[in-house]
Amino acid sequence: MANMVNLKIDGKDVKVQEGTNLIDAAETAGVHIPNLCYMKGMKGIGACRLCLVEVEGSKAPLIACNTKVKEGMNVTTSTDRVVEIRKFVTDLIVSMHPLDCMTCTKAGTCNLQKYAYDFEIKESSFSRKKFGYSPDESNPFIKRDPEYCVLCSRCVRICKAQDTNVLEFSGRGVGAKVETGNQKPLQESGCTFCGSCIDVCPVNALLESDRWRKGREWEYEKTDTVCLSCGSGCSISVSTKDGSVVKINSGAPDGSIERTICAVGRFGFDSLIGDLRITSPMKRVGTELQETTWEDAVGIVAEKLKAAGTDAAIVSNGAILNEDAALLAKMAEALNTKNVSSTVSLYSGADAMKSGGADLEAADFIVLVGIEPSQWKRVLPALDASVRKRLNNGAKLIVINSGDLQISSKAAAALKGDEAKMLMELAQAVISKGTKAPKEMIEALAHLNPSDDAVAAAEVFMAASAPVILAAPSLYKAAANLSLIKGEAVAVPLEANARGVVAMGLGSKGFSETVSARSKVLYAVGELPVSSRPDTGFLIVQASHMTDLAAQADIVLPSAAALESEGTIIDWLGRIKKVNRVCVPAGDAKQNGDIFMAVAGAMGASLKPAKEADIKKAVKTKSKTSFASFTKEEGLDADPAAFMQEINKATVNGSRLLWLKELESCQVTA
């Protein structure tokens, strides 16, 4: 634990961790130090000079964003001198900023507006500057309007911190402008449309493309929830107006490295409404699916399931909530069928989904074993961004993979080859330097002569104080051996609630076998990586969207989408995250768990919802890390990129993300 430092800010006693800057320290005392360019969690650059404060003993004012607290410091945040400077800079910026707050979408959240109000700048006392820049509105995601830019460089820096490097400055001073590196529209500049720049822009220079006349910040209701689109399970903050979603922002705490989301999480909400959405139960009449009532549909499902009994098969994806998963497991129990499985079994064993947690924020060393998070390939994009943020903050990286990864160029060492073998070499290299390790491991590796690369990697590993090992679930056991020497190992699943679904008892059996087991009845829950109808007597699909599988079903039950559901997940780091209902389910759709209860009820079994305590207990059961052989688990080699595409197909095809998908496919062929 870092040392605590005592200081005084505006007469208030403040006690904060050593190394904290004055802006963050003042915040803990409820004092806001004005700033435009500071971003919590990133180094202060002192460009806007609004954060200048006076410190006793220092002749000149100091920038609070990049001044660290010192024991006994006495800080005054608003003397006449620094307030004049703040007024001066705000005045200058207002002189080059459009004065159209009355129609501006960002009114109410705009920092410039706030400071102009605070400093009583009705209009600038300086000469008005107009630039005549045209906005970039050529994509359906992000609108860039340089006319509003206050040159704080937040967007440029966040883009660089994530290594997407799309935005850059051109020119200096008044004529400076944020541009893409090649001065082309975003979609031609390698932009992933993660929208992090929108989150950080203090003014109206960057915002969602479709925000015009969709209401302003104070009209929105904000709900914190979780994005269930991939294994990252990012916290999101959803703004709704009149019951429909207007925009989604990153919801992780300010300054956290997890404060990144991707295009799917931010812009996929269009798919909540639209043609692909299933709004009422349907049953097959002849060759067509026809709408029917819940009563009818549930009756048929219950009858078919009951008749099939132990021959019924149930499959689910790994994104359904804990509560729903628990009810599904109970329903299977009531049916007495053992053919229950989830998509988690395509990429992970059960033990890997009980790995311990890790503190990514503090990691000074990261090992990627057999996984390739990538913002560009849209595989766990937020994790990729977080890792890159850490690296750009000084953390070291070792990549252990059989392929060449994009991120390898940033790695201190890249061990290319069979991952299990590379892990052995790394472990042996570490052990041969005299590091303590379990006896079995030393014995098992004694015969090995590590390569030079492994020795070099071992040196970095030994120098680290808080290593975090992120492994593909199939390699988790092998990778966890390293954590017996130092650090934490975590298996990284591909779906948001993979750990929860396994903990609730849905992960044990192979998914592919269950699907192709020629069952009498197959009950498929959620969007699954299955596109053609499996060989089954009767196919029940419970989904929010008309997927390929749903179109071939005998009964379709409309389920609530992630944003319409309520419950919890256990994220990949083993934390319970609350999923809150943002809007009511479309049409007649119901949450998964409610449907399970209705079906079980019709079968004559009554299911009780899972208790909070059960879920808390499930989180606590973590597998003990003990030495395991350095081998890769077989049969868990689902291709992450293809899998991600499959499970997010409806979200992408039902939203503006389709534009991006089509654009990307054009670029590949062109």
Partner: protein
């Protein structure tokens, strides 16, 4: 703000060059204008707002004053910009620029300019070039020296009379000053526009 220069392209001009560029200028307003222009052209790095935006605004105001359209507000604005730049600029370059301006502002010349007086006869908008008819010998050297074809007149030929003195067409004159050394008789004078109108 970081519309900054790349590390590998070191600035060609530094603050010394900026200072050297104003060495031969006497008028405080002209000195200030040239200084800030030169500063903005290269050494200004753009890393902080007070200096990057402030010096640009200062230039706008100085130009107003040197062109004779300035008001007391402009002087006050320059004073404020310089004061605040001195306090809040990130580096020495902004502070030096502020100090330079503050020093020039101490001189009465700024105020004088508001009334159309440029004592050093360097602010081209406030002065005119004029040929003193009594001294003009009609030699035509000034006409040859003028690159802008701003001087009217006919060279004197022996035994002919009825000549008028050479004359500077004010609309064409850019006040470059090339004609001054060209006249061997000191027949060209520089006077404040204001007095010329009165005369």
């Amino acid at each position: 703000m970081s519309g900054t220069l790349q590390k590998d392209e070191a600035p060609k001009k530094d603050m010394k060059d900026v200072l050297a560029s104003v060495e031969n200028i006497k008028c405080p307003v002209q000195r200030s204008q040239k200084f800030v222009e030169e500063f903005l052209s290269e050494p200004m790095c753009g890393k902080c707002h007070p200096c990057a935006l402030g010096s640009y605004e200062a230039l706008v105001r100085i130009k107003r004053i040197s062109s004779g359209t300035g008001t007391a507000d402009d002087i006050a604005a320059i004073q404020r910009i310089a004061d605040d730049m001195l306090e809040s600029s990130r580096c020495i370059k902004g502070k030096d620029t502020a100090k330079f301006l503050l020093n020039e502002l101490k001189k009465d010349a700024f105020r004088g300019h508001l009334d159309g007086h440029c004592e050093d006869m360097e602010c081209s908008s406030l002065i005119i070039y004029r040929i003193i008819a009594a001294k003009c010998t009609l030699c035509g050297l000034c006409k040859d020296a003028c690159r802008y074809n701003a001087i009217l007149g006919e060279k004197k030929v022996s035994y002919r009379s009825g000549y008028l003195s050479f004359e500077i067409r004010q609309k064409r004159c850019v006040k470059c000053g090339d004609c001054l050394p060209a006249c061997p008789y000191g027949a060209i004078e520089v006077i404040e526009q204001k007095t010329a109108v009165l005369a």
